[in-house]
């Protein structure tokens, strides 16, 4: 079931995929007393996460990013059903959807682990932290108890946590400490792949920076890959190596973080980056008109077209495919691909005609 157990060491490793997602579709299919509803939360997503990188997924609320990571971890439950596509990990010999629950439970935590937003989802409030370590990691590490706790203590020290936290109950720790403990818990088995779902959203800014630094450090030390999901673009700017932008269930742009911030090609990405308020910057920030679509009844064609300053006729009819316009830079936008030009300079006042835009 599990192929190679070799961990990548430090140092640059050429782009070697650890996760490949192909044409993944997952819909919420619901029936409430005769009313059928289908919400296309994950709609035809193809992406690849390489070894030893942090891949950021950005998007607004209900853009499908949470559904995406649930599906990628095969942790989706009805009504969220996988309709099509594949999710392959390099450490598994087949598609994750073809594996039994029992096989999955042997992989989870050891090779594939999670850091979640609410640390209380992981830490049992009525058990001391050490019990949580036993619950999650003991059978994967498979050592006598004394040796196991030596490993745990060393791991905590490496993360600059005092082993005394093991004796505490979760409620005795502050929010930031709890989140650090969950990171320690998620990394104790040195997993190849970690899914982080808004891990710092509930934290104060001062603590957030610490926790992010800790995630970054432990990732570099272990050479694991992280799929890092948050709505906060400033966090992505400082965390992610590559960044994928989701809008209404689809991936609309993907590029190395620096590239996407310097040269966003999709008008939605461009807006997200332009409208970020910064200390020391008083230039007026515009908001996008309209609102994200309802995924049970998305607009035809490009899902962004009702709000797009560049919308053309074709955008209303056809769905743009995610195509590579530059090496490593994929975008799903007719306007951007018709002529590659700095969409970042387009303001809302620009008439929706491609011909007039600067090239």
């Amino acid at each position: 079931m599990v192929k190679a157990n070799g961990k990548a060491g430090n140092g640059p490793v050429p782009a070697e995929p650890i996760l490949s997602v192909r044409n993944l579709r997952a819909y919420y299919q619901m029936q409430y007393f005769g009313i059928d509803r289908e919400v296309r939360a994950v709609d035809d997503i193809t992406l690849q996460v390489n070894r030893n990188e942090i891949y950021g997924v950005a998007g607004e609320s209900s853009c499908g990013k949470t559904s995406l990571i649930k599906t990628i971890a095969a942790a989706n439950r009805p009504p969220l059903n996988v309709i099509g596509g594949s999710v392959k990990y390099s450490f598994l010999d087949r598609d994750i959807f073809r594996m039994s629950e029992e096989e999955l439970s042997r992989v989870r935590w050891k090779h594939l682990s999670y850091i979640m937003q609410g640390s209380m989802n992981v830490l049992n409030p009525v058990r001391r932290i050490r019990k949580s370590f036993i619950d999650f990691a003991f059978r994967h590490i498979n050592k006598p108890e004394r040796e196991f706790f030596d490993i745990v203590a060393r791991h905590l020290e490496r993360l600059r946590l005092s082993p005394s936290v093991l004796k505490a109950y979760p409620h005795e720790l502050s929010g930031g400490m709890r989140q650090r403990v969950t990171i320690a818990l998620a990394t104790i088995c040195r997993p190849e792949f970690i899914i982080a779902d808004e891990p710092t959203t509930a934290l104060d800014v001062v603590v957030q920076k610490d926790v992010l630094a800790m995630i970054r450090e432990v990732q570099q030390e272990m050479g694991s890959s992280i799929l890092f999901v948050t709505h906060d673009m400033t966090v992505h700017a400082n965390m992610a190596d590559r960044l994928g932008i989701m809008y209404a269930g689809r991936l609309v742009e993907e590029a190395p973080t620096r590239e996407i911030f310097a040269n966003p090609l999709h008008p939605y990405t461009a807006h997200l980056i332009q409208s970020l308020p910064r200390i020391g910057d008083l230039s007026p920030k515009k908001a996008l008109p309209g609102a994200p679509p309802n995924l049970s009844d998305p607009p035809a064609g490009c899902r962004f077209h009702p709000r797009c300053p560049l919308a053309m006729d074709i955008c209303r009819r056809e769905n743009p495919a995610l195509t590579a316009l530059r090496p490593g830079h994929r975008v799903a936008c007719f306007a951007a691909s018709s002529e590659v030009r700095p969409v970042s300079e387009i303001r809302e006042t620009v008439p929706p005609k491609v011909a007039e835009a600067r090239s």
Binding site: E60, S61, R160, L161, S162, S164, V165, A168, H171, E172, L173, S174, G175, G176, M177, R180, A202, D204, V205, V206, V207, Q208, K209, D210, L212, A213, R216, E217, H231, D232, M233, T234, V235, A237, N238, M239, T257, R258, F261, Y268, H271, L272, I273, S275, L276, P277, R278, I279, G280, D281, L282, P284, K285, K286, A287, L288, A291, P292, R307
Partner: protein
């Protein structure tokens, strides 16, 4: 009568503990500031969870009473507001804006119900046409119209639309002060600036003063005129917003500003440098500091 709001050495303390060893904990400790009636402004209260900013907001809204000190609105001590008439009169001038746009309206009720109710009770409208005219006028001020909102349930509107509708409702009585507690923290990024920009329009065009409570220094910098920074109930720094944020003096303000992530620092590895600046050595927070910290969070986030 030139002062709109005077907050004068206000303290709010809570008792904690059981039968033995009771203690008090000051959620807000000796806070004072003044808003002038003649010069509407966006006055920002910045702080992290447990800083007392929400407690302060609730005192200004007269939902809880200060333990000591006084809050005067247009010369009237809020403590003296008793009885439903006085309270209604106060609400005509001071209105709140809440954090979660999806919770501001009852999910089982149509959104317009609150607009119509406010128009009936505060704007003196009684006929349906009049009531609708008031609601529409208020919605126009926030960039919506009654046609977009009428008959809709909260789940049929986006977070941005709901928050703007909530602001429209608060504008119907013609208030002179809005108290907005984290109004954009749960609004999506692409819609957030529409709310923030709206506050500026309200100040300039409608001459409404706004107390903007937030943990986000970047939006605070963008719209505030004056700012106070709170830590554990105490104001550690105050002054004109740009001056304070461009050049913070108090160590805590400096720390806050340094912790704000910015897109300018892509790939500069600033995350690698930040080690345990926040909570001191981890050993300290493990047990000792933890108890007070949980107490110090009267649900402000």
């Amino acid at each position: 009568m030139s002062d709109l709001l005077i907050v004068d050495s206000v303290t709010k303390s809570y008792a904690f503990g059981g039968l033995f060893g009771r203690g008090t904990f000051k959620a807000v400790d000796n806070v004072s500031f003044t808003l002038e009636a003649a010069r509407p402004e966006i006055f920002t209260i910045v702080g992290e969870s447990g800083s007392g900013k929400t407690t302060l907001a609730r005192m200004i809204l007269n939902l809880i009473a200060p333990t000591s000190g006084t809050i005067r609105f247009r010369g009237t001590d809020l403590n003296a507001i008793r009885g439903s008439r006085a309270r209604m009169d106060f609400m005509r001038h001071v209105q709140p804006i809440f954090q979660n746009p999806f919770e501001v309206f009852n999910p089982l009720k149509k959104v317009d119900h609150y607009l119509f109710m406010t128009a009936r009770r505060f704007a003196g409208a009684s006929k349906t046409a009049e009531v609708e005219a008031h609601a529409d006028a208020a919605l126009q001020k926030v960039g919506l119209s009654l046609a977009e909102v009428k008959g809709r349930f909260p789940h049929e509107l986006s977070g941005g639309q709901l928050q703007r509708t909530a602001i429209a409702r608060a504008l119907i009585p013609g208030p002179s002060l809005l108290v907005a507690d984290e109004p954009v923290s749960m609004v999506d990024a692409s819609l957030r600036m529409s709310i923030v920009n709206l506050f500026r329009t309200l100040r300039d065009d409608l001459r409404v003063s706004i107390i903007y409570i937030t943990h986000d220094l970047a939006t605070a910098y963008y719209i505030s005129d004056r700012i106070i920074i709170m830590q554990k109930g105490v104001v550690v720094e105050s002054g004109p917003a740009r001056q304070v944020l461009d050049n913070p003096q108090h160590p805590y303000s400096i720390l806050l500003k340094e912790s704000v992530l910015s897109p300018e620092t892509i790939g500069e590895g600033i995350l690698g440098l930040a080690r345990h600046t926040g909570e001191g050595p981890p050993e300290a927070s493990a047990e000792g500091g933890a108890a007070t910290r949980t107490l110090a969070q009267p649900r402000s986030s």
